[in-house]
Symmetry: D2
Subunit: 482 residues, 4 copies
Amino acid sequence: MSETTTRRAVKASSAQHDIRIAYIGGGSRVWARALFKDLALCRKLTGRIALYDIDLSAARRNVGVAKEIFSHPQAQTSFKVSAVSSVDKALKGADFVVMSILPGPMQMFANDLDIPAKYGIFQAVGDTTGPGGISRALRCVPDYFAYGQQIMEHCPDAWVINYTNPMTLCTAALYAASPEIKAFGCCHEVFGTQARLAGLVEQYLGQRKPPRHEIEVDVSGVNHFTFVTEAHWQGVDLFPLIARHINKRGFFADRTADAVKQKEEGHWFRSQGLIAYDFFRRFGALGAAGDRHLAEFVPWYLTSEENLHRWGAILTPSSYRLGSWKEKDAAVAATIKATKAAKKSKKRAAAGLKLKRSGEEGLQMMLALLGDKPLDTNVNIPNRGQAPDLPLGAVVETNAAFRLDRVTPLVANPMPPLVTGLVNRVIDVQQATLEAAILRDRDQAFAALLSDPLVNIPTDKAWAMFNELLKANKAALKGWKI
Amino acid sequence: MSETTTRRAVKASSAQHDIRIAYIGGGSRVWARALFKDLALCRKLTGRIALYDIDLSAARRNVGVAKEIFSHPQAQTSFKVSAVSSVDKALKGADFVVMSILPGPMQMFANDLDIPAKYGIFQAVGDTTGPGGISRALRCVPDYFAYGQQIMEHCPDAWVINYTNPMTLCTAALYAASPEIKAFGCCHEVFGTQARLAGLVEQYLGQRKPPRHEIEVDVSGVNHFTFVTEAHWQGVDLFPLIARHINKRGFFADRTADAVKQKEEGHWFRSQGLIAYDFFRRFGALGAAGDRHLAEFVPWYLTSEENLHRWGAILTPSSYRLGSWKEKDAAVAATIKATKAAKKSKKRAAAGLKLKRSGEEGLQMMLALLGDKPLDTNVNIPNRGQAPDLPLGAVVETNAAFRLDRVTPLVANPMPPLVTGLVNRVIDVQQATLEAAILRDRDQAFAALLSDPLVNIPTDKAWAMFNELLKANKAALKGWKI
Amino acid sequence: MSETTTRRAVKASSAQHDIRIAYIGGGSRVWARALFKDLALCRKLTGRIALYDIDLSAARRNVGVAKEIFSHPQAQTSFKVSAVSSVDKALKGADFVVMSILPGPMQMFANDLDIPAKYGIFQAVGDTTGPGGISRALRCVPDYFAYGQQIMEHCPDAWVINYTNPMTLCTAALYAASPEIKAFGCCHEVFGTQARLAGLVEQYLGQRKPPRHEIEVDVSGVNHFTFVTEAHWQGVDLFPLIARHINKRGFFADRTADAVKQKEEGHWFRSQGLIAYDFFRRFGALGAAGDRHLAEFVPWYLTSEENLHRWGAILTPSSYRLGSWKEKDAAVAATIKATKAAKKSKKRAAAGLKLKRSGEEGLQMMLALLGDKPLDTNVNIPNRGQAPDLPLGAVVETNAAFRLDRVTPLVANPMPPLVTGLVNRVIDVQQATLEAAILRDRDQAFAALLSDPLVNIPTDKAWAMFNELLKANKAALKGWKI
Amino acid sequence: MSETTTRRAVKASSAQHDIRIAYIGGGSRVWARALFKDLALCRKLTGRIALYDIDLSAARRNVGVAKEIFSHPQAQTSFKVSAVSSVDKALKGADFVVMSILPGPMQMFANDLDIPAKYGIFQAVGDTTGPGGISRALRCVPDYFAYGQQIMEHCPDAWVINYTNPMTLCTAALYAASPEIKAFGCCHEVFGTQARLAGLVEQYLGQRKPPRHEIEVDVSGVNHFTFVTEAHWQGVDLFPLIARHINKRGFFADRTADAVKQKEEGHWFRSQGLIAYDFFRRFGALGAAGDRHLAEFVPWYLTSEENLHRWGAILTPSSYRLGSWKEKDAAVAATIKATKAAKKSKKRAAAGLKLKRSGEEGLQMMLALLGDKPLDTNVNIPNRGQAPDLPLGAVVETNAAFRLDRVTPLVANPMPPLVTGLVNRVIDVQQATLEAAILRDRDQAFAALLSDPLVNIPTDKAWAMFNELLKANKAALKGWKI
């Protein structure tokens, strides 16, 4: 067990909460580090963080990163961060459990994209839905199910915050382990939609662009396939603005040129929202996730790479996934090195570590759950009535009120019926996948895959693709006969 | 049309909202005057109030009262208050419609109590449920249905705040007129429960008694028959405290002596909460209204006046209803007179008008709807999913989030199944009564009455009682053949 | 193990089914003997019957009775009947399991009537609902739950026919043991309603009275609280006839005189159907059980013995229950003796055994399930959609199609909404009672009792009554702390 | 008005029902003539048939055909058949209304196939679902809605039997006109599945092939997309047989050769059931319609003509549709001519009219509704609970009991959840199409089309295709702005 103690003395004020965080996937290159920074910039919290990762060395590496972050001159607080060798050790006594794992080695993510592509099924992201998302779910659902059981054993009162995709199925697996678990899934995709609407406020109302959280949206659906059914800014209905915006001549014109440029430049995550607006035009509800996600839930935009380009969006290639993985580590190592060097030389190098808020809401959620500032935001939890047009019990994404030790869903508007139909279809596939993954049921897993909106190929070919995916996942599919 | 202009000049600040309020039942002795005072003490609002009442002279009398209130030295703002001769005049241009009417003359309220009593059915209040409540509903539902239509014609964007009982059926009648209406019903009964729980915090946690709004309750049911399924204060679960409290030796002992004393002293509205706690003991959910209300929804506490006394609660006699009606007017007249005299003599007489907040939340709701401070509180609106164990569409009481031009329900916990059963039974009777009242369907009205939990008498006698009630209501039952 | 072989040689025709019947409650004085006679008169069946009873001597007595029946000159077939000492022995290899037990000794049935009566709660029958029915359910539900498990172990493909009351809860307990069980509950109460309607055909249509099965009824509800929502004879709608019938002057006049006479004469099971018609008058659906049963599900007819008399119905006294029990045995013994004597003397004595069809449908159901004549009739099984206005999963009574190895429910009309409300209330109590009985949960059992429509007494008194009942049942309540 | 009287004297026996049939689409080349023959061969019925058709000459032609049929030597009864010039005349006094129309001229049917094909969407049939089915629905739903209203005006007690496709939407349009209408839709596709299973009985049980009605199936879904969830023959479970059958080596081998041959020979309606079995293999429920229909409801089999051929099924080309239309008329004319000639020459020519039962169940349904032989069979009516896993109110296909003046649905098994999902998706599209067709809502019609399982093309192209279809339908789309 490696451990770090921050140097700066922290004076515990009565307002400062002393908490324990268990981090499952504590070797995480992105989310864990973002959390450290967010925590470092918040004087209201202090305590301990236990990092667990199946790759203990990655967790240890993050202990080093954390050390630098909490000792940074801008840091407002410090946490004791340690890497632990078992989940149980991490969980004991935890107030919060943060989960962000990589389901299987990065090569498997690459397979999730490349194998379906051979069969003519292209995915822009591939981590949520479609053959890629289902393949990924088969790998991680059993782990999440087991983590859920361990959480209920060691820290049943802890709040569990999940960042891993497939978000819906990971969260659902926790609730499958115990309906009593206090878990929720967080996603920032809706924030992007709010930001886009804030742009319309600026453009059409002659106002300074408001911060995204001022855009009040009623949102419903499942993660990455959510819809805004109502949007206001300071009481102004934004739907007429959207209508005006998209009715402009040429608005829906072909954006292949943009996409091609983007691809050349490697801006893999950019999209223009044209698909989100196409949903608005065709179904009356605004897609509330990035176009690359939205496109994966329906059979219309990913019929070919060219078709996706037409909407100004691009595929993230598996090569990028494999490459970025290594680059991230290298970049962080370089930053840490530069930071240490700078400290030694008593000056801050340009290349050194910078503290900056991540824009994620995990920290605000924690604060609200600790009784600090109330927060109303979108979240993924089982449907208790908040999405009255979706099945009870399914993990859905709507707004909820975060208060002291409580997350209470706000009732969402029903979506337009055909959109509800599209979402229900996705939920059907998710429920079947969840069961198949827990029971290791090959036939049901295939039936689920076949029912996925992206699988519009002959059943024979789908069966071949499915088995190829299973084989590629073999090492991660414990308990399966492959 | 009589009109008043307040003397004090009001400087409209940018933060001050200029609103129009239509008050239906503007001759109201209690609610209208409470609202005037609450408004007078709130510097954030100004504007106009149009009072409509079928008794125009009562509305005019309130114009006089308002004049004194808004010219009171403590007043922070002023409103132009006028009495108008038609609903339409009141509604045109309204931002808010406040409704508090008396369904039929006070003598009919007396009949609602006295006629059932002849048949052995006693009601502690008689304005919500039971034969009295149904009789009252038959009188006022058609009016509310018509008001709903007029509101949709003249001010469809206005928020409609209802205070009239039967709360559920009046609110439901507005929605029967149009599902698009922006109406809700307000009730303070839950506040009393919060205050009682605040007392437990003081008693058992050694804290100063917290203000009632610090007690966070999850509430569900129908108005006056609501249940707390979860209660916290600063994260402390209050249910174990309740259990401890009621398990005290003698807690449920006979309280007849208290009741008799209360009756002698004429403290008609007091109750000790013993029935609310009896629900907790027997069903696991705390009754969240006064005992006199709760007792009317089940057949166990009102089998006789003595039985009610045993729980430390008493019947409000019809004689009191008739008497208080006149007394209230007299008291206000005296106050106004004293106030005017005092003003003349440049000093404030002891007997003069005092400005004091009512404790009602109508004003805070208005402010929240105007985009001011957000408010989460209990409210009566149609079930869109917030009470997943009750029928969709039925007017239920749960918490909701009041925000700028929006009321979004928060999803309530399900109640214990047998309590859900008790509430569903009440909802069945309410739905049937609503239809019967609108359609003037005598048979269905009787079938609804027969299904009421208080009607445990032979069907022949119930039929006789029903017809006696109809006859007593004849003047108020337009369109009925009686 | 005692066994009997019938003397007459039975020529097995290809059309004759050779079946094994397990009879749980095989000492049954009424149902078992009726079944023997029905079987004896049906040449299509032969085989073996194993009688199990906790009172082995009673089962043995029935072996003797069976011997006489199957050797009767009118008998068309024979069965080998034996008494077995364990349930398992009875069940092994069974094609049908017939269940008709007495829940607890007869004295407990007497208590079920007498204890509530002390608290002012009168029951006409006391075996289905109300305090008596709940008390009885607490005794027998755990046994049925265990029988269900044993059936699934020993003869999972057998059809289980239940005759025991409380019908709904006994059947529900079997399904609680396993949702895969092929069980149903039979009741003849609807037959009486059909017969009554056949009388109207005769009276108003100038036809010979048709047999009851020609009256086609759409029926829904729970056993003994069922409602006819539509009735036809040869395409003629009978509802206008009912309306005509009950609108006759004096139809609903006081029938106390009849009741008093009936009581004096000891015609305990007779009733005039006036309560069934009162439901029709008040709610628009015809009660489809005897008045003595219907009266127990609502609070209007059993407020006193006198009130019940007013409707021409009477209470069955506990003394009769105790007495008849002994008389039945004596009567059968005498018959058997006379039969034997007659056989010896080669002539049939007037007092000897007579074979006569029982009018029950158990045999026809068996035949239909064996692929013989199809049968559409009313039956008690879990709601799979057949009663769309009642909760899924609850045991309901509607029509169903009996075919070869299948019972498929026919979708019933929805009942009038207020009747649905009355039935739902009963279902709520039943579900809570079922759980309480299986879990031995005293608090929930009391909460269920309190929610019963007949319990309109103060909660303190109800609690006392409940505990008195528990004590009286002590010997039968295994696993309870009393 | 042209009229025919049959020559043979019919002796009205007491058992013979004298009925009036209104035939909407009375010029029908296939269904009307089949009905005449079925009627002619049934001695239990006589009466009048009024033929209405928007093509009066076609109706008149059928009067001539009917004349020959009912005067045929084998005819057992006769009907007076006339052609009438308005729907109202046909409907007045009708006991039965039979509906089989052609929605738009045959050229429009051809367009329904050819236009989507240009966009890469192939349909094997094109009359039920997919772009072709939706296009057809837009044409005929308004007519059916209007017919429904006229039926309720002129003969509200008549039973309405629909044969027109799209079956579900035509039937739904009648119920949209009035929920009180007594309408149902008939389809013989399930019969084919029964026949196929009868073949398995022969093949595997060593029995003579039983008639198809002996195969008892539990069926659920929507017309042409129905599933067998359970199948028995004389109590033998046929599902293990199906499993055995399809597990044979090579069973699912490529059947392109067969398909190509079939296509060359013009056997347009043949299929081998391989797709039905593929559903069984992948989802656990047997498709219960012809493969050409089943393939149209999912995106897997019609990705290309070649892919369909692989399953041994072929596309029906629009050229065949156009050609057969004319051929049918010619063939009938020839037959009638030959028949007349034969009659004249007192001998029956080989080419003359032959009376033969159609295999349709319309006649048996009529007989059952008239109180004759009860019939349990599959039928299309709104879901009242019979398909508990599908939305209430949607027109579904399950079994139902036909009895005297009643059709009572039998509760179907739930389908496997993923199959329910596939069916729900179709229902969503149908509901949206129904509304769009009645309201002439172009946007909703397109949104429905886009949601159809066959529409897996870019949204731009789908929009172009949709508008091309609208234009091609212009003459038939009254009230649309095109």
